[in-house]
Symmetry: C2
Subunit: 429 residues, 2 copies
């Protein structure tokens, strides 16, 4: 028979047990924080009627997304992001939901792009949204959630950059930027990090914006929120001021929240406060989280309009940053104990020890063959299992087990009745 | 603008926060048990080169699976089950893996079928496998894992039915069933539950099997494993006997493990022990878990042949059974506390209380508007949030908060400093 090459598609990934232990550990932390702040999980289908996915992207949808006709000639598509499936879910269900509705969603999405470094065809997104309120309390809460996520994941030097689209538009207006060029100007300013001040000035000039140097000067942040606010005193900065006071009440450290009037974010649906998170230890990774206030997320799917606030955490980038930092060195992906099998006659005793351990919630494995002890120890070593239990006829006779630490190589005999306490006291230390 | 209907595809499902809380609760229990027994999680791609998915199904693959050509004319397919993606993963990685390799996998799969009651196009599967050993210890361990899963999920009357394909083939041989009719005979006997003894007899006769009445009589289980074994004493029943002794050492209650020589399971790749789990409280749901020993799972993808043992838990059926039993009545999907906002001036104090609660890990929400208290309480009620915190100017003056139980309707003022202890002591009770 012809062997099929066990390949995966370029731009997709498979995760073994080591990878998954790390990913689950990060996801569990994130989910716990979301849930502490009252965000509930939802999950939307992966196979969707194509129009519900493509609608947002106009003529581009066909090229950007994975879409196809099934055997029944139905047009189907895989989600490109979690925003559109959430908008569809909300439009279909809002009448039954408690409003404002707070949800989180962690699922895979698909991009029909040529895969490159950092650009995958299949990857996870991780979104939270509060929909159905205009209150700036939503923005403040999201900033608190962001702060907790990055702090608990061990990021020690990160910033939440914030700005207001409303304020940005006011400033544009005062510089006579025509309304129809505002969004283009925002997209140009969004490239500040990539093309530098010179590049931005040039592109803005090309667009026909006047007095660009002064405009950029006005947008530049000062050393503190207060100083930036006071320089912008001729504009209505009440939105930022209220946000800052709420964030203070929520005890978000002032060094974390940065007001940066140049912060733009390229998407056109933001209408108020926007956020972007960067880690100063991993500046090359770019934004690790971003989002903002929107006014009409569900417009594609229902007549009612709902204002909301949401951010997306860049799960894959967070994983890269944590991997770079060595955050996963202490993770123990496999069992804590290997129960060896001394000989054919002792299989039942080994099974009894195995049952004793697992019934107490101690993660364990039993070796499946009657192999030489050396081979059994090698298996424990390969899997990074820290403890090995050996019970030969002598130990059995005395009601004892030999416990061997794979790290130190030391071993000692203890009564079987003390085994659980011995291992549990080790767990706690 | 034309509104897009916010529909989902028939045969797919979306899960709101209530559903997800239940599903996560079940998944977390299952994962914890798997991990206690040393099974590690893996995850395989959803978009796959079509040949890696279709290979197993011969000419049927195209009809059974979701497959399509992408923009670059690559043939892609979504997984039909988790067995094939696992076989591919193992074939690609076994040289780096510690053998035997124990993994669990919980992911969605897709069936290009017409959806009917109980048949979805998109649903979860939940598999465990031990691959790379012939030892019956693997079978025994899997029976222990199954026992723990169903016990911890609160199934009080379930059976693990077991049989040996080897033994079944021996019995067929003694009844002169031709080898090329053995698999067909197995498929017919597999329908015993559906078409009854009469139906099976008839179909076997039609197939050309002789002495069918006696054959079926030989396969019928007695009241206990020992009795059945002793009736089959002319056959080699050592496999079952060893399994039973191992299961006894693992303290699997004897009323749970049932030896049933009529147990067939339709798939042709089983070669030894097979399992099927039924819940006597939910007999109409059929098998809640099933699987067995196979000899060459990865044959499609590599030249080496590996023996393994694995079962699939019917996650969606387990959910239905638990729902029927009312297992989720006590689940609290939303936050435990709602912090209300008394008036515009007290927003900051409310935020501070909110921060106090969440920083102690108490799941909470803050109400986002300055609405009438009645409306805020209604929100808590709709979300099933059990406690509401109110702090008016009077309470604030005294450093107190009013805590209201939504269930009893009772409320009392306590010093803010005692709030955390008050709620934590409630959590424990």
């Amino acid at each position: 028979m012809q062997i099929i090459q066990p390949k995966i598609l370029k731009g997709t990934r498979e995760f073994g047990t080591d990878d998954m232990s790390k990913r689950n550990c990060v996801m569990d932390t994130i989910k716990r924080i979301f849930s502490t702040y009252g965000y509930g999980p939802i999950e939307t289908p992966i196979l969707n009627p194509a129009e519900t996915i493509l609608g947002k992207y106009g003529g581009e949808g066909d090229r950007l997304t994975y879409n196809f006709k099934d055997n029944g000639n139905r047009s189907l598509a895989l989600p490109y992001d979690l925003t559109v499936p959430f908008a569809r879910y909300f439009a279909a269900n809002w009448q039954q939901l408690p409003l404002p509705f707070k949800r989180y969603q962690i699922q895979r999405v698909w991009r029909a792009e040529k895969p490159q470094k950092g650009r995958l065809r299949e990857f996870y997104q991780c979104d939270i949204d509060i929909i159905g309120t205009n209150s700036l309390l939503a923005e403040a809460e999201v900033a608190r959630v962001i702060t907790n996520v990055f702090t608990e994941l061990g990021f020690s030097n990160f910033k939440i950059k914030t700005n207001s689209r409303r304020l940005m538009n006011d400033i544009f207006e005062s510089f006579n930027v025509p309304k129809d060029k505002a969004m283009q100007s925002i997209r140009i300013i969004d490239k500040l990090g990539k093309i530098g001040e010179e590049g931005v000035l040039e592109e803005l000039k090309k667009l026909g914006v006047e007095d660009v140097k002064n405009l950029l000067q006005t947008l530049k942040p000062e050393g503190s929120i207060e100083a930036t606010l006071s320089r912008l005193s001729e504009y209505d900065t009440s939105e930022i001021e209220t946000l800052v006071s709420y964030c203070k009440a929520l005890q978000i450290p002032s060094e974390i929240l940065n007001f940066d009037p140049t912060l733009a974010r390229g998407l056109d649906y933001y209408t108020g406060i926007i956020y972007e998170v960067i880690s100063l230890e991993n500046p090359d990774l770019g934004s690790l989280c971003g989002g903002g206030r929107y006014d009409n997320l569900c417009g594609l799917f229902c007549k009612e309009s709902f204002s909301g606030m949401g951010v997306a955490f860049g799960f894959e980038r967070i994983m890269i940053a944590m991997e770079e930092r060595g955050a996963f060195e202490d993770i123990q992906p496999n069992a804590e104990v290997l129960v060896t099998v001394f000989d054919e006659d002792s299989i039942s005793s080994s099974l009894e020890i195995y049952e004793l351990l697992t019934s107490e919630g101690i993660s364990a494995e039993i070796y499946f063959e009657v192999d030489k002890l050396k081979k059994q120890l090698k298996f424990a070593d390969k899997k990074g299992i820290p403890f090995v239990i050996i019970q030969g006829p002598e130990e059995k006779e005395k009601g004892e087990v030999m416990i061997k630490s794979m790290k130190s190589g030391k071993q000692k005999s203890i009564p079987l009745t003390q085994l659980i306490n011995y291992l549990k006291s080790y767990e706690q230390s």
